[in-house]
């Protein structure tokens, strides 16, 4: 009713939009339909310039080093109330989604989209990156597995032998699962209501079956998409899992980037993360709309696969030059920066739907606590603050990535030099050259992201049926 589209060219954005014909009724992408104050051209240009400068400054800096944190620290279990509380919240959230799926309804009180996309895909990703491994306990699949195993034991069923996890699979099953959820997010538009219910129930059944087959911890750490993705993001966090029992150790922020264990699957996963956020941003810009319009799901699937494939291949090519660990360490902070820049307002605005959900938990038209009519609002967010956060997170993520990639690359070279002797001038020059492809890819991605943040947003009226999509009735 009172959607106000942001096609209000001000003095600073006039240049950016002058060439664009704003379509009359537009907007649709997976997430982030709620805050439409674009990054001004000047902010975008400043960010792009800073990005390029930072990238090459790090590449040219002489021999920047850092030691990874000690990983053999035993760590401590978080307090029981926290672990039990998180498990309870995760399980209640899962049950809530399932019950809503059974009783039906589609409204702002839809908790499937709220928990999976707003609080999970965005909120939990940010918690994982900036705080620690909350998902380790929130994870309802793991809790359900534990409950089911306890129930079976109680009735005297002993369980069966686990199959050894095929080492060749590595973390690729998680990459495939992640790609599937990206597709649900961007092509099925988050799949609200029944669709999302089917996705959640189906994925739960699949995950429990795989846990039974290969063992819970084995499948979590290698095959379960959310766990693998959140743990990867957790390389930034100051609290890290010390082991599968849930012991947590402290370490300096972002130092986890330098820890070992990077695999090509991790790099591809990060590339998919970066690519999906970028695709989400780009596919709702006016230039994209002018070229592609609003494609049907099969066409959009092809576009998405092509786009993500391009970025994944670029990342893999970079690993050939600089190595797997530096590429991962370079791209991961970028993904987190983009996530924050693109989706923070979505989290802060659409997350307010929890007030509606609490008052009408089963979408029956109730108003238990008088909050069912709450309309999520971004009025409390000044555009200047949003732009500051967007610019700082994109460029800050880029800077952290440039640092991480550079230090990881330097360590690779040192590892190559026998006995840890100091690298020669020739080694250093070669090191710099080898980092250039990584820096170029990172600069391209970041410039594209800043550009997409500055574009007019396009809405697809045909998709206005979803709870996440706005309908302008003026």
């Amino acid at each position: 009713m009172n959607l106000r589209r942001a096609v209000r060219p001000g003095a600073f954005v006039a240049v950016a939009i002058a060439a664009l014909v704003a379509p009359p009724a537009v907007l649709a992408h997976g997430l982030d339909t709620t805050y439409q104050s674009r990054l001004p051209l000047a902010v975008y240009l400043a960010g792009a310039a800073a990005t390029v400068a930072l990238s090459f400054a790090f590449v040219l800096l002489r021999d920047l080093r850092a030691a990874p944190p000690a990983t053999e620290v035993r760590g401590e279990l978080p307090p029981a109330w926290l672990r039990i509380g998180l498990r309870t919240v995760g399980l209640v959230g899962w049950l809530w989604i399932v019950v809503q799926g059974v009783v039906g309804g589609s409204s702002d009180a839809d908790v499937g989209s709220l928990f999976l996309w707003v609080f999970g895909w965005v909120g939990l990703a940010l918690v994982s990156a900036f705080v620690g491994p909350a998902w380790h306990w929130l994870d309802p699949f793991s809790t359900l597995h534990g409950l089911a195993a306890a129930a079976l034991r109680a009735v005297g069923i002993r369980g069966w032998d686990r199959a050894p996890y095929p080492a060749t699979l590595g973390r690729w099953p998680a990459v495939i699962g992640f790609a599937f959820f990206v597709w649900v997010e961007l092509v099925l538009r988050g799949g609200i209501g029944r669709t999302l219910f089917i996705v959640v129930v189906g994925y739960t059944a699949f995950t429990l079956a795989m846990m039974a087959q290969f063992g819970r911890d084995e499948w979590r750490s290698r095959g379960e998409a959310f766990t693998v993705w959140f743990r990867l993001l957790g390389r930034l966090a100051p609290f890290a899992l010390a082991d599968e029992t849930g012991r947590v150790r402290r370490r300096p922020f972002a130092s986890g980037l330098l820890e070992g264990g990077w695999t090509p699957a991790d790099v591809v996963l990060v590339a998919l993360g970066v690519g999906s956020i970028l695709f989400d941003g780009l596919s709702q810009t006016t230039p994209w709309y002018e070229v592609f319009g609003f494609p049907a799901a099969p066409i959009q699937t092809v576009q998405l696969v092509g786009f993500l494939g391009l970025i994944a291949v670029a990342a893999l090519v970079v690993t050939r030059f600089v190595g797997v660990a530096p590429t991962g360490a370079g791209l991961l902070p970028i993904a987190v920066g983009y996530l924050l820049a693109h989706y923070l307002t979505y989290l802060l605005i659409d997350g307010q739907r929890i007030l509606v959900a609490v008052s009408d938990p089963f979408q029956q038209g109730w108003d238990l606590f008088g909050t069912a009519f709450h309309e999520p609002s971004g009025a409390f967010l000044p555009p200047g603050l949003v732009w500051t956060i967007q610019l700082a997170s994109v460029v800050g993520g880029h800077m952290l990535g440039a640092w991480g990639g550079h230090v990881a690359a330097a360590r690779t070279v040192e590892g190559d030099v026998a006995g840890g002797a100091h690298a020669s001038a020739e080694d250093t020059r070669e090191l710099r050259l080898r980092q250039v492809p990584l820096a170029v890819v990172m600069v391209a991605l970041t410039t594209l992201t800043l550009w997409s943040l500055g574009q007019a947003i396009v809405v697809n009226p045909d998709e206005a049926a979803g709870a996440l999509v706005a309908l302008d009735r003026r």
């Binding site: 009172n2 959607l3 106000r4 589209r5 001000g10 003095a11 600073f12 954005v13 009724a25 339909t33 709620t34 805050y35 104050s37 001004p40 000047a42 902010v43 400043a46 800073a50 002489r62 920047l64 080093r65 850092a66 039906g104 309804g105 589609s106 409204s107 702002d108 009180a109 972002a254 509606v356 979408q363 038209g365 008088g370 069912a372 009519f373 709450h374 309309e375 609002s377 971004g378 009025a379 967010l381 000044p382 555009p383 603050l385 949003v386 500051t388 610019l391 700082a392 460029v395 800050g396 800077m399 952290l400 640092w403 009226p461 049926a465 706005a470 309908l471 302008d472 009735r473 003026r474």
Partner: protein
């Protein structure tokens, strides 16, 4: 801008119109939809500015396209109407919307009975009461998207400077903490 691209019932118009001022009590309070609503589960609530429930509406069985409160007999003041509806065809919904109107004292001279403000399609002017910030929850857009900068270099320079300071501080921390140049 298309309304009702999907088959389910959309709110089409309200009487009194959203944000309107009515002289004397309106004859009726009505919400009209584009399609039939599930009359058993849909509701219309008239509330005073402080949220007190004054009256509830029901559908005219002969006309499931609208929910109605006849002869509300309202004193002067601001009112909010909360609408919750389900489409008659299936399990879509609930959808929600609110609208507000103000009743003023009728003119002192004898006049024809006060007429309700003309109905209007939904195009809300700024809502008069804080509670009326809520509008149809079927449109989860921000109720007030902050406007673009209309001038003043400070609007853009401040975010740039603030971000650069943040990034600079972060970079300094990174370099200092993780060992500088060899």
């Amino acid at each position: 801008m298309p309304i009702g691209v999907s088959a389910h019932a959309e709110l089409e118009m309200t009487t009194p119109a959203d944000g309107s001022t009515v002289e004397g009590t309106p004859d009726e309070v009505v919400a009209t939809f584009t399609e039939a609503v599930d009359v058993g589960r849909s509701s219309l609530e008239l509330r005073s500015a402080d949220g007190t429930l004054i009256a509830s509406g029901a559908a005219d069985p002969a006309n499931p396209l609208s929910l109605r409160i006849p002869n509300p007999e309202l004193a002067s003041g601001a009112y909010e109407v909360r609408i919750t509806w389900f489409s008659a065809d299936g399990h879509e919904g609930p959808e929600r919307a609110t609208f507000t109107f103000t009743v003023t004292a009728p003119p002192p001279t004898p006049t024809p009975p006060p007429t309700p403000a003309p109905s209007a399609t939904l195009a809300p002017p700024p809502s008069p009461t804080p509670t009326s910030a809520a509008t149809p929850s079927a449109t989860p857009s921000p109720s007030a998207v902050p406007s673009e900068p209309t001038g003043g270099t400070g609007d853009v320079l401040i975010p740039i400077l603030a971000a650069l300071v943040l990034i600079g501080a972060f970079g300094a921390w990174l370099l200092r903490r993780r060992g500088g140049s060899a």
